[in-house]
């Protein structure tokens, strides 16, 4: 090892925000590069999560990345932090396996490390490391024993690390450690601790350390930073603190020796169980051809397409991926769980033949190349939608089948302003009510703001904190956070990852609090490591469809095949009238308006409609030309025959991603891989400069290939530029169209069962009280919650020959499924005769009893006020169980309505809160929503939805409800500004503005008082 360090240093002990640091791996690398350093070792505490990002960024900045981790080592002499560095891909795998154990047990036993340390380098750690600690405790023989054991196992891969945190005595400690190393003949390295890119991040690092430790800034703790010393140092600063050139030279030499490439060249096909003697590709071929023969015999275009798809899958080496998806779908269906592929996979005939999707891509003209092509760099996605209620069963099955080779992907939870305010506010000692006010104050406008842009929310913070120092401090800390600052990891909603071998070789695994086995990398980072993921997405609508099917089976004895429902025009008709509530993907106000205009009557119409009301088509001005041509208000534009073949079925506009790819391929002559890269670049382009090369490429291609004039090519470019790739894939839209049709069909034929399922699963955007109004409109009675009749879920009950929906015990807020089950078990022994009987038999907590009583569960047995009186008495002990209530007036209808809404979110009463305001509204000159006519209008309603999408240029969209009628209120930015408080807080609003085309452009707003009003005249 050379005696002098080169001009750039190797920093061996850096931590990012994936460990105990405050900066991203990328930021640390940038800083290291700016200071001229050559190597950066990321050694996050108990984590390898930052590795992929480190290696990716390193290529760009020219610093050599290395990976390690800090962990606790449990030895006979005590438990100490050490740092392990990976010296190869095998070393990385060993480290990852060790960390998996540490995450489960808290520390790594010394024996495990002595046994498994191939290609691992051990650094003895800093202030809390065993050399410093044992020396300070004067336990020299213990130190000798430990060094000897480690030396025997690690040989020349054990290094004493020198540190200096600018604390009293650090210079002396460094000298002592160096002397110790020289005395024992051990190599030593300079290893200054790094936890932030720059020194001025010290307050933020300290505050976030307090957050991590769960303490306030006034509470001392040894893990807190005590100054700016953990900033990434310059060479000058580093050599000043550790003035031992040979220790820096050793660090550099070590880094040069152990550097290795982390990111692999190819994808790793997941494992699948195979019959003896069968290969994955052989099995896939056999299954696919057998399905083709059975379903599409004598159709050469299908055979040709299948041959092409199989060849692509073989070339990419991914047959296991398909077999795995098939296995998952088969398992789900065998348990009665709906499982349907979505996304680009639906464009694959192979996926269709393997029963992953009912969509026939050849008949629908879908594009396989959007899903898979030979030049593919990114992994294909197979996204399987499963009924959300039972998704866990499928995941459990995978865990049982694949064991250590399977885990859920992680999602990196990044800071948004509300969470950052909560965390930092707590650390700074702001009381909880004040923090809640701060979060509420952010409202819709700033909820999604990244903390580093907190200054934009300064006026709102000022409203709560005034000009107190806390405001300035919070703003300063927030402004220093990075965009995308990661707070913690949680299991991804659907990404399941499988590897050919144990997954802990790729990244540490951990059991999440929900008991799910999670790999500590997100899906992009997993993909970068070559791992294939399958997205098992829980779709509540599928659960609702399953549940409705179960209810139909129970009430009618009919089992519905939801994937093969007959096409009926009558099923589509409610859409034409705007009756969309509960219909998958079509129940938003925008889709409702579109349903009235488009009057869909086929699955393809539904697919077009679903794709049309999306940011891409809306922003690119696609909607109007599509509508006008579809409705015959404008003639078809003149298109080149090649473009006509691609865009003809969508009336000359780009609606789907596949169309964009085809246009690029057939129109501009790009191969499929180039076309896909073009689409991705287009969707990621942020500035006009990013678009320039794409524009040139397209114009050139269109001219050369199709001979388009400059103007014609420009027109195509404008369409492409507008689309930006934000749209759906056609295959995805078709998959969703089928779910939408199934929901329409069930609503038309079995409204009670369907609404019961919607209430149980809440798959859509509307609250239960709105679904209740829809039941009222459809003439489906809602039966009140009853301690003797309600079950666990809303269920259809026949009352006097008519189907109604019985509210479940769990509708009462505060009644858990577990508590409801206990009640149901007790009820098997006989109905409850009184509240006292219930109390005596179940001994419920008072909270549970009150929750049930408030929601009216005992209304059948005694008036609710009396029940509340009894439930309020302390139970058990020496006091009598039943005390006669004093005379109490019965609940008025209005009182009962609001009590129901509070206690269970909806009411069995056929009444809407606005019914209580009828007299007042008449006096105020408000027209009821269903009677509105085009022109200036004043109306009122309960606010049931508030949206302020970031893409809407400051506009907000509210939905006001009056009984079963709803109105979209469009609130321009100036009105939002002027009436901010009632818009933010008002439960019901009186609004004035211009009514046109089913929505009201609001000009004035008044809050309406809902509570304490007169009783309705009648029901």
């Amino acid at each position: 090892m050379g005696p002098e360090p080169g001009p750039g240093l190797a920093l061996l002990s850096a931590e990012s925000y994936f460990g105990r640091g405050v900066s991203s791996p990328e930021r640390l690398l940038e800083r290291a590069a700016a200071l001229g350093h050559t190597h950066l070792v990321l050694t996050d505490w108990q984590s390898l999560t930052g590795g992929v990002r480190l290696f990716r960024k390193a290529k760009e900045v020219g610093v050599v990345p290395l990976l390690g981790a800090g962990l606790l080592l449990k030895t006979p002499e005590g438990t100490f932090p050490v740092r392990l560095l990976a010296a190869s891909r095998e070393g990385y795998a060993a480290l990852s396996a060790h960390l998996t154990r540490v995450l489960a047990e808290g520390a790594l036993p010394l024996e495990a490390l002595l046994r498994e340390n191939q290609d691992l380098v051990l650094l003895t750690g800093g202030r809390e490391g065993f050399p410093s600690r044992l020396l300070a405790e004067r336990r020299l023989s213990a130190l000798n024993r430990l060094l000897k054991a480690l030396k025997e196992a690690f040989r020349d891969r054990l290094f004493l690390s020198l540190y200096h945190d600018r604390l009293p005595g650090d210079a002396r400690r460094a000298r002592v450690l160096r002397a110790l190393a020289q005395d024992r003949g051990l190599p030593y390295v300079a290893a200054l601790e790094v936890r932030m890119a720059e020194g001025d991040l010290y307050p933020l690092l300290d505050a976030l350390t307090c957050v991590r430790l769960g303490i306030g800034v006034e509470t001392p703790h040894p893990e807190r930073p005590r100054n700016e010393a953990w900033a990434l140092p310059s060479r000058e600063e580093a050599l000043k603190r550790l003035p031992f050139p040979e220790a820096w030279a050793n660090a550099r030499a070590l880094a040069e020796t152990i550097a290795f490439p982390l990111l692999p060249e190819r994808l790793l096909d997941p494992p699948v169980p195979l019959p003896p003697g069968e290969t994955p590709m052989g099995l896939l071929r056999r299954l696919a051809w057998a399905a083709l023969e059975a379903r599409y015999p004598g159709k050469p275009q299908y055979a040709k397409r299948l041959e092409e798809e199989l060849a692509t899958v073989e070339a990419l080496g991914l047959p296991g991926f398909f077999l795995l998806a098939r296995e998952v779908a088969r398992f789900a269906r065998s348990r009665g769980i709906l499982a349907v592929a979505r996304g680009s996979a639906v464009g694959s005939l192979l996926a269709h033949l393997l029963d992953l999707t009912p969509v026939d891509p050849v008949r629908e003209g879908l594009l396989f190349e959007r899903f898979l092509h030979g030049g593919m760099k990114a992994l294909p996605d197979i996204d399987l939608d499963l009924g959300s209620r039972r998704r866990r069963e499928v995941i459990r099955h995978l865990e049982e089948t694949f064991g250590a080779r399977e885990a859920m992907a992680a999602a990196y939870v990044t800071y948004r302003l509300p969470l950052a305010l909560q965390d930092l506010g707590r650390a700074l000692g702001l009381p909880a009510p004040l923090r809640r006010r701060l979060t509420r104050q952010l409202g819709r406008d700033f909820r999604h703001l990244s903390p580093h842009r907190a200054q934009e929310a300064e006026p709102l913070l000022r409203e709560v904190l005034g000009e107190s120092p806390a405001k300035g401090l919070l703003l300063h800390l927030l402004s220093r956070m990075e965009k995308g600052q990661v707070r913690h990891l949680m299991p991804h909603v659907g990404g399941v990852v499988l590897a050919p071998g144990p997954l802990h070789r790729y990244a540490p695994l951990v059991r999440s609090s929900g008991g799910i086995q999670m790999i500590t990398l997100d899906k992009d980072d997993l993909e970068a490591l070559g791992l294939v993921k399958l997205d098992l997405l829980g779709l509540r609508m599928l659960s609702a469809l399953e549940r409705a099917r179960e209810e139909v089976l129970r009430t009618e004895g009919v089992y519905l095949d939801l994937e093969a429902l007959p096409q009926e025009e009558g099923v589509y008709r409610p859409l034409w009238r705007g009756e969309t509530l509960g219909v998958f993907q079509l129940e938003s106000p925008a889709q409702t308006a579109m349903s009235r205009k488009l009057r869909p009557k086929s699955l393809q119409d539904l697919a077009h409609q679903i794709a049309l009301v999306r940011p891409g088509p809306i922003q690119s001005g696609t909607v109007r030309p599509y509508l006008e041509r579809r409705l015959g208000q404008r003639g078809p534009g003149r298109l080149h025959p090649t473009l006509e073949a691609i865009l003809g079925k969508t009336f000359g506009v780009i609606l789907f991603q596949e169309q964009l790819l085809r246009l690029l391929h057939h129109g501009a002559g790009l191969d499929w891989a180039e076309a896909e890269a073009f689409r991705k670049a287009l969707s990621k382009a942020k500035d006009p400069e990013d678009l320039l090369p794409l524009r040139e490429r397209l114009l050139e291609g269109l001219k050369a290939r199709l001979g388009l004039s400059g103007e014609e090519a420009e027109a195509v470019w404008r369409m492409v530029e507008g689309f930006r790739g934000y749209g759906f894939t056609e295959s995805h839209a078709l998959a969703f169209a089928r779910h939408a049709y199934a929901s329409l069909w069930l609503k038309a034929h079995y409204p009670a069962e369907f609404l019961a399922a919607l209430l149980a699963e809440a798959p859509g955007m509307w609250p239960p009280a709105t679904l209740r109004q829809e039941a009222r409109r459809l003439g489906v009675p809602i039966l009140p919650l009853s301690i003797n009749h309600s079950g666990l879920y809303p269920r259809v009950e026949r009352v006097e020959g008519k189907k109604g929906i019985r509210l479940p015990l769990t509708a009462a807020k505060g009644v858990s499924e577990e508590a409801a089950r206990a009640i149901l078990r007790e009820r098997l022994l006989g109905p409850f005769r009184s509240l006292a009987d219930f109390r005596a038999r179940l001994d419920p907590t008072q909270d549970l009893l009150l929750a049930l009583v408030r929601a009216g569960a005992f209304d059948e047995l005694l008036p609710r006020r009396e029940a509340l009186f009894q439930a309020g008495l302390p139970g058990g002990g020496l006091l009598p169980l039943e005390e006669k209530a004093p005379p109490l007036p019965p609940l008025g209808l209005g009182e009962r309505l609001f009590l129901d809404l509070e206690a269970q979110g909806l009411s069995a009463l056929p009444l809407h809160p606005m019914d209580l305001l009828r007299g007042l509204l008449e006096e105020l000159g408000a027209t009821p929503i269903p009677l509105l006519e085009a022109g200036p209008a004043r109306t009122a309603g309960l606010v049931v939805a508030r949206q302020k999408p970031p893409t809407a240029k400051g506009y907000a969209f509210f939905v006001l409800e009056d009984g079963p009628h709803r109105l979209q209120a469009v609130i321009p930015p100036e009105v939002w500004e002027e009436h901010y408080a009632p818009l933010r807080d008002g439960e019901a609003l009186l609004v004035e503005g211009l009514y046109r085309g089913g929505s009201l452009r609001v000009e004035k707003v008044w809050p309406l008082p809902l509570r304490g009003l007169q009783e309705p005249q009648s029901l």
Partner: protein, 50 residues
Amino acid sequence: MRRLLDTWRAGGRWWLGEEGRDYFLLEVAGGLVLEVFREGERWVLSRVLD
């Protein structure tokens, strides 16, 4: 001053607006050990150690 024995830095209570301080441990003539820190342009004596 006879010799500089040690230096360190205290980040200070940043949440109260305190600046960080550089501390110095000095041995002066007569064997007296002083702990001092810089505050702006002036030196402040923090402790005297026997």
